[in-house]
Structure formats: structure tokens, C-alpha cells
């Protein structure tokens, strides 16, 4: 009884939430001229042309590869550095930790319109790259390289914040006991707290991946050549002002969603109820 109503609620919510996405999928299979022509979800004359167009015209494979590289680097860096930093803020109080932490979080409150150009100038001015001299002058730095695209994402302050919040609930007694046993800090982190943090690492991975995958503005200004295009830039090809190509756009958008979905599906397995079962056993 209760189970039935619970499942019904879940199905209903999922359907409502998925509705716009279902329409996207439908349009992806609808010929361009018929886009938004009917209320029916099943296209009258389904076609695969839009997917072909998306792959060929937008060079989607290259873009998917580029975005995958950039996102994977960002995920790895965030899962290591941001998680460690969050742990340090929560468990290893050091001088100036609190103000530094708040300053870090506060940077997220500055609109990107303001920070975009300074960031651009910095990536251009990285010394000894892209024809630059030791002082960062003369060349184009890391502009128009995947390294330049990924650099600002390596450590996202929000992830540090999240990790700190997560570790702040972890029992301190475990660390104290281990210290008495003579364990080093690194061992305490890797052997005791990291295993507890699987859901956290999963969230950081999912969010880092999604954030990098979705960003449009930074790749737009920092890359120019076709070789460095990311997925959102590839999709923009179908968004010409006043002449949107709905079919290929939706087909591309659906395709581009799939890798993120896979990353999510893989990581969501870490959200297993009862994982924290052993947390107090030490």
C-alpha cells in the first residue's frame, strides 16, 4: 500500500520533471519544418537526419572528445584538491582558516561578467606558453588550448565549501584515537575519512563534470579554432539568430546529455542508504 503510493508519487514527479526533456527528444526526431507543429510527442514522420546533421555539421565527435578531456581533468583535480582542501578546513584548523574559507566562498558571489575579462587576460599572459616570454608577453599564452579551457575549473571554491560541510559532520573521535595510535595525518585522511566520503566524492565528481560540460561563456571567449571547440560551442552552431535549426539543435542537445548522464549513473551508486553504517565502528 504505502509502497504503491510512494512509487506512484515518484513516477508522477519524474514525468512532470521530464516533460520538457521528452519534448526535446521528440523534436530531435522531427523534421525541421515540422518543429513545434503539433502537440503530439510522437513525430508524424520521424527522421534520423537531425542526428546526422548534428554529428557532421557541428563536428560533434571532436567537441565531445574535447569536452570529455576538459571535464575529466576538472573532475580529477576537484576530487583530489577540493576534497583535500575541504577536509583541511574542517578537520585541521590552521591560522587564518576561517577568513580564508569565507573569502573563498565569497568569490562565487561575483558575477562572471566581471571576472571573465581578467581571467582571459591571465590565461593569455601565462609565461612561457603560446609564444610568451618569461613575463607572459609576446604570445597568446594558453588561449585556444584545452589547457587554457580547463585551468579556471581545476579547483572550484564551491566544491571546497561542500567538502568542508561534509567533513564537519564526521566524527572527530576517530582522528583523535588514530593520532594517539601514532597514525600520520595523511593516513588518517586516506584510511579513515576518505572511505566515509564516497557520497561526497561522487557529488563533487558529478558537479564538476556538469559544470564544465555546461559552460558556454568561458570556452566562447578563450577558444577560437575548430580543434578546441567544446560541446556547448558546437551546439551554438544551430542557434543562429532568427534562424534556429530546431531539429539538429535538439538532436545535438540530447546526444550531449548522454555522457553526463552516464557519469551521473556511475556515481549515483555511491548514494547507497546505509553506507554510513560502519562510520562509528572505526
Amino acid at each position: 500500500m504505502r509502497r504503491a503510493s510512494f512509487v506512484a508519487a515518484l513516477i508522477a514527479m519524474s514525468l512532470i520533471v521530464l516533460l520538457p526533456f521528452v519534448w526535446m527528444v521528440s523534436l530531435a526526431f522531427t523534421p525541421q519544418e515540422q518543429a513545434f507543429g503539433s502537440l503530439s510527442v510522437i513525430p508524424a514522420q520521424p527522421t534520423l537526419d537531425n542526428f546526422v546533421t548534428a554529428f557532421v555539421d557541428a563536428n560533434l565527435l571532436r567537441a565531445l572528445a574535447n569536452s570529455a578531456i576538459v571535464a575529466s581533468v576538472a573532475v580529477t583535480a576537484n576530487c583530489v584538491i577540493a576534497v583535500l582542501a575541504g577536509y583541511a578546513f574542517a578537520m585541521l584548523p590552521f591560522r587564518g582558516a576561517t577568513p580564508m574559507f569565507y573569502a573563498l566562498v565569497a568569490t562565487a558571489a561575483v558575477p562572471v561578467s566581471v571576472t571573465l575579462i581578467p581571467l582571459f587576460l591571465m590565461i593569455r599572459g601565462i609565461p612561457l606558453t603560446g609564444g610568451n616570454d618569461l613575463f607572459g608577453a609576446g604570445g597568446s599564452g594558453l588561449l585556444d588550448t584545452l589547457a587554457g579551457v580547463v585551468l579556471p575549473y581545476l579547483v572550484m571554491p564551491m566544491n571546497i565549501f561542500l567538502a568542508r560541510q561534509f567533513f564537519s559532520t564526521a566524527p572527530v573521535e576517530l582522528a583523535e584515537a588514530a593520532r594517539i595510535d601514532g597514525a600520520g595525518e595523511w593516513r588518517i585522511f586516506t584510511q579513515i575519512y576518505l572511505p566515509l566520503a564516497r557520497p561526497l566524492v561522487a557529488v563533487v565528481a558529478v558537479f564538476s563534470f556538469t559544470g564544465v560540460w555546461d559552460d558556454f561563456l568561458w570556452p566562447l571567449v578563450s577558444t577560437t579554432s575548430a580543434d578546441t571547440q567544446t560541446v556547448q560551442l558546437a551546439l551554438a552552431r544551430f542557434l543562429a539568430s532568427g534562424n534556429v535549426q530546431y531539429g539538429p539543435l535538439m538532436a545535438g542537445a540530447v546526444l550531449v546529455t548522454i555522457p553526463v548522464l552516464i557519469v551521473f549513473l556511475f556515481n549515483q551508486r555511491s548514494f547507497i542508504s546505509g553506507l554510513s553504517d560502519g562510520s562509528l565502528k572505526g
Binding site: 519544418e33 588561449l143 551554438a236 552552431r237
Partner: protein, 441 residues
């Protein structure tokens, strides 16, 4: 034959035509290199992401150009909507390309900051015939009489009406109204209401969405004999009797029991083809770009849609439509390869390339002589838009124009919603606009 805007198919045919044209472009239409063999590199940010133009540029123009000049060209395609953001960063960082494209609205700001190269000398070197042929388009790329932008196409929107609706309402579709007053009367006859009095089919639907409002107002203003700014571009000129006449007319379309339009603020200009009011049967006359109209005509051949020449207000000299220069190319003032850059632009505007380019994107050709090309000849829709070309007026090219436009737009919206009178809205808009123009001088 009407060209279907279906990227793959057009693209394939473009490749075939391209190889043939490439040869002729090198041989006859190709310009003489001004500075001998160059081994330079040219970067181009192209204003458009249409697959046909991408194929045309990457498969025809660039290879032919590279072969002739020995240069290497790197082209990046961007929708001109994304251009400002990217150019701002690039100019700040000194990494802007040699050639870049944008809409004319942003032109004067680049000029005011000395970021773009004056092109008058280059244009003067074109043959008199070419200059004449391109005259309609070129004027939209000038600031204070100096050429800075070379438009790749013309744009313009015209009134398009459903002839069957005319017949049904007892009107003669062969004789569309010629004055705005008559348009209103016709629209009243065409307007259909339901039992509750709500308009279910607008007799006339002019764009009233953000930016569209300012364009509709300018369209009406010019047809009433007025203009947006003074000739020197220093002050607002729209707060005039003509301006009031235009804005009152615009407001009256949507207001009260005599309204002929529903959906104030709705953006149909950018709506999908199947959601166009003429397709849905929710309007009998709308304003459309040639590209949108061709898409409708192609997808719905059963609709008898016709183009109306721009009406004028009674007593005014001529009807006008807002149009003229479309997005075009500029040369970075800091470019080390200006001659090469100009050669590239010349390729783009050569008769053959220009014709194929505009055909590919469904726009109005920049050259007057293109009226005799098959693209125009075989396409009644386009013919009408080309025919109206002399009546197109452009927005003024003054620094700060984007802000001026948005300011006008804001006050026009208030008048349309009748939160303020037309006169009051125009006066307040003029005061703000004068301040913006002053600050940008």
C-alpha cells in the same frame, strides 16, 4: 525554384557549385593582389553559423584565396549574437583577429575606439561599376561618411499578408493598401474575435517584443516622414509630430475595442516556422524577413502569401522599411595584414560569391545587379524584397547606439502598455537618448 533551407542538401550542392565557381573566381572575378605574394597568416571571425556559408567559406573561398595569395587563413564561425562578448575580451587582450564580422549596430563603437580600419581607400579602388552595384549596402557600413564595414547582405522586413484572408473578408488581394491609414481599415476587416470579444486573429501584427518594438517604431516613423536621430547623429529627433503619429498608431493597434492586434510583446519574428502567426491563422498581415517568409512558403505551399510594399502615412512622401546593411566584415586597425584582409573581403563580395552566399543564408543580395541572378529571378518572395531595397532605411551608426536603441525600446514599451502617453514617452526617451549620445561622444 524556391530554395529550401535544409543545411545538408544545400551544402552538398554548394560543394559542387563551389568547385566550378572557385575556378572562375580565381580567373576573372578575382581581384589583383595589391601587395604581391604574401606569406602571412590571416585570422577571420565570421559573422554567421549557417552550414551553407561555412561550406562556402571553408571549401571555396579560403582554398582559392590561399592558393592565389599563398596565405593561410584561419576562420572561426560565430553567430553575430556572440560576437560582442568574444571581441570585447579579444580587444582587451590584444588577440583580436585581422578580419571580423558584426551587425552594423555595434559598428560606431568600434570606430569611436579606433579599433577598425577605414576602408574608403580600398572601396575607392573598386571599379565604378562595383561601387554603384554595392551602393545600397555600403551606406549602412559607414560612419560619418567613412566606410568601415562591408555588408555581406542586405536585410529588410516587409509586410506579408494572407491573400485568402483578404478574399474571405471581401478585400482584393491584388490591391493591398498603400497607406498606413488604409492598412488599419483593412486590418479591422480582417480581425476576427470570438464570442467574448477576444481577438483570435489579428488583422495586422507588427513586432512588439524587445528590440522589435524599436524597429517597428522606426519603420512607422520613417513612413511618417520622421527620423530617429538628427542628421549629425548628435541628438534624438524622434520626439516629433511624426514620432507621435507613429507611436500613437502603433499603440492603437493593440488597444481598446478597435484593436486589430493581439499578443502585445509576443515574439513571433524568432518563432519556429510552424508557430508563425500566418501559419497558425492567428494573424492576416505580419512583418517578416525574407528568410522567415521563404521558410513558411516552403513548408506551407498551400498558403497564398504575398508581400506588400512599405505603406506611407497620408501626407508623407514615401513609405520606408527598416533594413539595409546586414552583418558585414571589418578589418582590425592593428592587423599586420590589412591588404590581405581586404582581399579576403573582396572575395566575399565578388558577384558570384556574394550571390551564392546570400542564397545560402536566404538573405537579400548586397549587389543591386543580383536582381538578375536566378536566385532572385526564380524566387517571387525574394524579388519583392529586392524590389523594396531602395526603401530600406538603416538605424543610425552612432557610438552608444545599442544603449540608445534599448532606451527607446523601454519607453516605447511603456507607451504601448499605456502606462504613459506617446508624447510623454517620446520626450522622456529623447532626454535619456541625448544624454547617452553626449556621453559617448
Amino acid at each position: 525554384m524556391v530554395v529550401v533551407i535544409r543545411p545538408r542538401r544545400v551544402a552538398t550542392s554548394a560543394v559542387v557549385v563551389a568547385s566550378a565557381l572557385a575556378l572562375s573566381a580565381c580567373g576573372s572575378a578575382g581581384p589583383e593582389p595589391s601587395g604581391g605574394e604574401s606569406s602571412g597568416e590571416l585570422s577571420v571571425w565570421f559573422p554567421g553559423t549557417n552550414q551553407t556559408e561555412i561550406d562556402l567559406v571553408t571549401e571555396q573561398i579560403v582554398p582559392a584565396f590561399e592558393e592565389e595569395t599563398g596565405a593561410t587563413v584561419e576562420v572561426t564561425f560565430l553567430d553575430w549574437g556572440d560576437m560582442s562578448t568574444k571581441l570585447n575580451a579579444a580587444f582587451a587582450g590584444g588577440t583580436a583577429p585581422d578580419v571580423f564580422g558584426h551587425g552594423p549596430a555595434a559598428l560606431a563603437d568600434f570606430v569611436a575606439n579606433e579599433r577598425v580600419e577605414p576602408l574608403t581607400e580600398y572601396v575607392d579602388r573598386l571599379s565604378a561599376e562595383d561601387q554603384d552595384d554595392l551602393a545600397d549596402a555600403m551606406s549602412g557600413g559607414q560612419v560619418n561618411g567613412t566606410q568601415f564595414l562591408i555588408p555581406l547582405s542586405l536585410q529588410g522586413s516587409l509586410l506579408v499578408y494572407n491573400a485568402d484572408d483578404f478574399v474571405e473578408a471581401g478585400l482584393d488581394p491584388a490591391n493591398p493598401p498603400a497607406t498606413w491609414e488604409d492598412v488599419y481599415d483593412v486590418a479591422s476587416d480582417l480581425t476576427v474575435r470570438d464570442a467574448s470579444g477576444t481577438i483570435v486573429r489579428s488583422g495586422l501584427l507588427l513586432p512588439s517584443q524587445p528590440i522589435g518594438r524599436q524597429q517597428t517604431f522606426a519603420f512607422l516613423l520613417h513612413s511618417a516622414g520622421g527620423q530617429q536621430l538628427t542628421d549629425d547623429g548628435a541628438e534624438a529627433a524622434f520626439a516629433s509630430d511624426e514620432g507621435q503619429r507613429a507611436l500613437d498608431y502603433f499603440t492603437q493597434l493593440f488597444s481598446g475595442s478597435d484593436a486589430v492586434s493581439a499578443g502585445l510583446g509576443a515574439d513571433y519574428s524568432n518563432a519556429p516556422t510552424a508557430q508563425q502567426p500566418l501559419v497558425l491563422g492567428t494573424a492576416s498581415i505580419t512583418l517578416l524577413s525574407p528568410n522567415s517568409m521563404q521558410q513558411v512558403v516552403t513548408a506551407y505551399p498551400e498558403l497564398d502569401l504575398r508581400v506588400m510594399m512599405p505603406p506611407k502615412f497620408e501626407g508623407a512622401d514615401d513609405g520606408h522599411a527598416l533594413g539595409g546593411a546586414g552583418p558585414g566584415l571589418m578589418i582590425n586597425a592593428d592587423s599586420a595584414e590589412k591588404d590581405l584582409a581586404w582581399q579576403f573581403i573582396q572575395y566575399m563580395i565578388s558577384p558570384d560569391t556574394g550571390a551564392e552566399y546570400t542564397q545560402g543564408i536566404g538573405a537579400i543580395p548586397a549587389r543591386a545587379s543580383a536582381a538578375s541572378t536566378p536566385y532572385v529571378q526564380d524566387n517571387p518572395v525574394l524579388q519583392a524584397f529586392v524590389e523594396a531595397a531602395p526603401l530600406y532605411v538603416t538605424n543610425p551608426n552612432v557610438p552608444g547606439w545599442v544603449q540608445v536603441r534599448d532606451t527607446m525600446d523601454k519607453y516605447i514599451e511603456q507607451a504601448l502598455n499605456e502606462t504613459t502617453s506617446a508624447r510623454d514617452a517620446l520626450d522622456r526617451a529623447a532626454a535619456d537618448v541625448d544624454k547617452i549620445l553626449e556621453a559617448n561622444r
